[in-house]
Each structure stands twice: as structure tokens, then as C-alpha cells.
Symmetry: C2
Subunit: 311 residues, 2 copies
Amino acid sequence: MAFLGIDLGGTYARAAVVDEHGRILAASKMALTDRTPLGVVAAIELAATDAMTGIRGINRTGVGVAGMLDGETGHVVNAPNLGWRDVPFGAMLAERLGHSVRVVNDLSAAAWGELKGGAGRGASEVFVMFVGSGVGSSIITHGQLVRGATNSAGEFGHVKVVPGGRRCGCGQHGCLEAYAGGHNLIAQMVEALATGRHTVLRTMHQDGGRELTPVLLEEAAQQGDELAKEIFDRASAYLGLAVANMISVLNPERLIIGGGVLSRCSGMRQAIADGVQRYSTEVSKHALHISEAALGDDAGIIGAALLAAEA
Amino acid sequence: MAFLGIDLGGTYARAAVVDEHGRILAASKMALTDRTPLGVVAAIELAATDAMTGIRGINRTGVGVAGMLDGETGHVVNAPNLGWRDVPFGAMLAERLGHSVRVVNDLSAAAWGELKGGAGRGASEVFVMFVGSGVGSSIITHGQLVRGATNSAGEFGHVKVVPGGRRCGCGQHGCLEAYAGGHNLIAQMVEALATGRHTVLRTMHQDGGRELTPVLLEEAAQQGDELAKEIFDRASAYLGLAVANMISVLNPERLIIGGGVLSRCSGMRQAIADGVQRYSTEVSKHALHISEAALGDDAGIIGAALLAAEA
């Protein structure tokens, strides 16, 4: 048995044929030149057709989308990367592909991929946390993904760590993501540079021509740069505390951490491990194994295909 | 079908025969004069025998215990109220009653009772939060109680709200319970009185002869007493924020709040509702219905019986 997985990013649509064990049999990607729903559906169809070349009998597709979804109907309520609001995406794509389509949150898909085919294999109580451009999570209990009442469970990036604090892209204030998400780490660097304060970031960026990234921030913080430390250590501390509290409450057997920022910033991964060690309840931390995500960028596409297989 | 539920407190053992719909058919309670495991088992047997008078065919018992348990073996790892450590309680009680016994955490039992027979009826994604002498919670996802990897899920009282803050009975620092649990609300009043600061609590307590309780604290805070407000408002604010974050992450359809302190302190209940309104994600709060616990002190005994029925 094989299934089609789609990972819909802001720049590319990636398609892969995935077997029931989570192995990628064939893959293809297509740049999104037209981000309208019709343009995206057309790009996905091209990528899918390419990936399915010579493979027959595929009749289920799962697609991971960054945004708020209605998992029942396949409606995309809000996808800021694509500028979509209330798009009947699942139905549009199902019509084009000629078979059933399941629309899932990209992080839920990645978590499911890690659970079934990656770092979570064999576990049934798992907390998966990703820090990339944003911060997100998925919770698995009783071996099942927790979707919540309206498919928005796992919004870990929007727990409040500073009541009334820094404004977040979601419109609220003081969210974890507003301090620790990749976009916001960069935004905080830009804001700090604009104040004129002394920092090696200025030299690295303006003279050295290096791009402002979370990796550069970590490097500067590790060199002892005060401004970089303020931003980086604060983000790391909030992440560590917030994860530790989730571990206390959920008592998972496994914590999986990944995403573009965490996979590159070892100091931030360490801060999460330290936070759990310091703040989680004794019983919950003794039961816990911390793993790094194993599937990298493929987690989402594998998870989307396997979620379609479950449906 | 009927089952036996036991609620093992620090002062009494209560027993009730409960039908499959969660209705109490008969009940009895016995004071715990001897808190050794053997003494408690004997008291439970007396209460159980009394409750089961004239009722035949009961062959499953569930017992709720405040403490850390191993749900698989029925071992009580640690029950501070009873001064127990590592007691093979389930096996002892099963031998005495002559049938199978399921040992569960008292708050998990109360949550299950509310879910199946009280304020959670008909819901499958629920967060239940109790503030009594301590603070605890239970999480229900996919209609099932989340137990976690080692049966300690739901330790909401021990999420950290102030890193390095007030010492908690669990041995760690800065736990929610250390600020908002009933025992700690009283302890904070006692500590504040000892500093000699002006407060109406002194008059109410020393001259008026009123006991220091969370209700007295709320009353003084509502009268505008600065010291009472500090303690009460801080506890309420931490509760509101911590609950709001759980709602964002779990996206439950229902939040059930109860327990001896919350059932008596309407200002604290209001603070929780306000916290959710202010801090939970938009989507999660729109999906949420907040209910007060409906079964009062019977929730635990009903839940324990119904959990035994499930086993």
C-alpha cells in the first residue's frame, strides 16, 4: 500500500509517494509561482503526477498546511504564508486529484511522521515540539494525535509566557512564539540593532555580510555578546520552562524536539533539556526520554501520507 | 450492574455502590482511627460491607487515593496524607474484599466521575481542574483519561509559575499549588500575619475568632484589604494564566472547575474565566464551555466505581 503526501510550504509544494511503513518511494517538488488556491492546486497536481510516475493504485492523499484548518471539511480557515482565508482547499484538491484528500496542520503531520516513522516509533505518549519560523507542537496520547474540539490542539507557540508582553503574529501578546520563534528571533535582532546598542551582531552582519539568523544569534551569545545573550537566553529560558510544564502535565514517555531553528541551535536544545531537568515534576522527568526529530524536512510529508492512510 | 467506589481521604474512608450510569445506590463512611495500611483496609471493609448491605453480585472496586500511584500494580508509591510510602494497597484490599480492585488517583477519579456522570457528560475533550487543599487536574482526550507514561499525567498543581519561587510541598519551587492551593493560601496568610503588616485578616481572625480560610481571604480581598488582595489576586492570576495555557494547547470542548476552594470562592472562579478570555488562543476559547463541577464531594467515589467498571 502507498499513499500520497503533500507538504505545502510558502515557496514550494512537495509531493511524495510513501509506503505504509513511512518510507518515501518517490518525491517531487514544484515552485509556487501563483499562490492563489487555484494556482497552488495546479502546482500540487504537477508535483503529484511527477512523484506518482509509474506507480499505480494511489487513492488517498494527505496534505500538510501551515495554518488554521477545519480537519473535517478540509477548509483552510487561515493560512498567513499563502494569504488564504476560508478556502475549500480539500474539496478543490480532491476534485483535481480524483480521490479523497485529508487536510492536516503541517506540524501535526510532522509530529505524526516522527511518531510513526521517526523518533517516536513505538511510543504512545509523546510530546513533539518544533521551533522553526514559528513554534508548534503535537500531543499524542493513547497512541493517537490529540486534535482537540476544533482541530487546534497543540498551539504551544501561543501559550502566554509574559502576560501583556511582546506582540505576536497571532494578534495576541506575550506568546512563546513572539520570543522564541525563528521569525521573532530575527525581528528582535533587527529591533535591537536599530536602538544603536553595541553588539558583535552589527559587525557580523554589516561588516561580515552575514545574514541575521537564529544561528548567528546563538553564535554571538556563545561569544558572550550581551545583547545576543539577552535575546537568546530569554527565548531559551521560556522554551525550557514551557516545555517542562507540558512534561509535568502530560507525563509523556518521549519528548521529540525538532524544526529548522532547534535542529541548528544546540544551545537551545540544551536549554530545553535543562528546563525539563530543573522544572518538571520528579516523576515525569524520570519517565521521559528526549529525542531529536529524525526525519528532518521529510517528517511532514511522511506524516501527511500516513494520516491519509489512517483516515 | 453495580460497582463499589471508595474515596480514601485523610480522615474518612467512604464507600458507595454505584450503578453503571454513575448513580449512588447506597453509601457509608468510616472514620480512620488507625491510618496504617492494615487499619485503613479494615475501615474500608467495614464501610464497604455496610454500603453493600442487601446488594449482591458486586465484584469490582475502584478506590481513589490522594498520592502517587502505580496504576498497574495498585501500589501506593507515596500518600502524604496517610504517611504511606510504597504500600501494596491494591493487593491488600483485593484480598480483603475478595475481588479485583483498581487503585486510582483521587483527582483522576473525580475527573472521571464528572466526565461520565456530571458536568462533562457527553464530552470527549475535557480539562478538569480542581483547587482544594492542593491543585490538580485531569485531561480527557478521545474520551479517555490521559494517564501518561507512568500514571502521573495531570500534575497541573506542579507546573512552575515562578521559576525559583515559593517552596512547594512536593519539594520543588514555584509550583502553581505553592501559591493557589488551599493549604498554601492559608500558609501565606499565616506568614503575612507574622510579619506584623496591617490587614483586616488580623481583626477577623484574632478579634472575630474566624478561622483563616481561603473564603476569609477572598472576603478580605473583596473588602479591599491590600495584603489579602496581594495573596488572593496573585493566586487567582497564576491560576487564570496556567489554565488559559492548557486550553490553548489542549483545545478542549469543556473546562470543568471544582474542588473545595473553587466551589466556595467565586472570585477565583471568575479569575479563571477571565484568564481564559484574556490569554487563550482565539480558536480555543471560542470552542470552550466552562462548567462548574456538578457532583461535589461525590465525584471521586462515582469516578472510582466507574473506572473499576472500565477495567
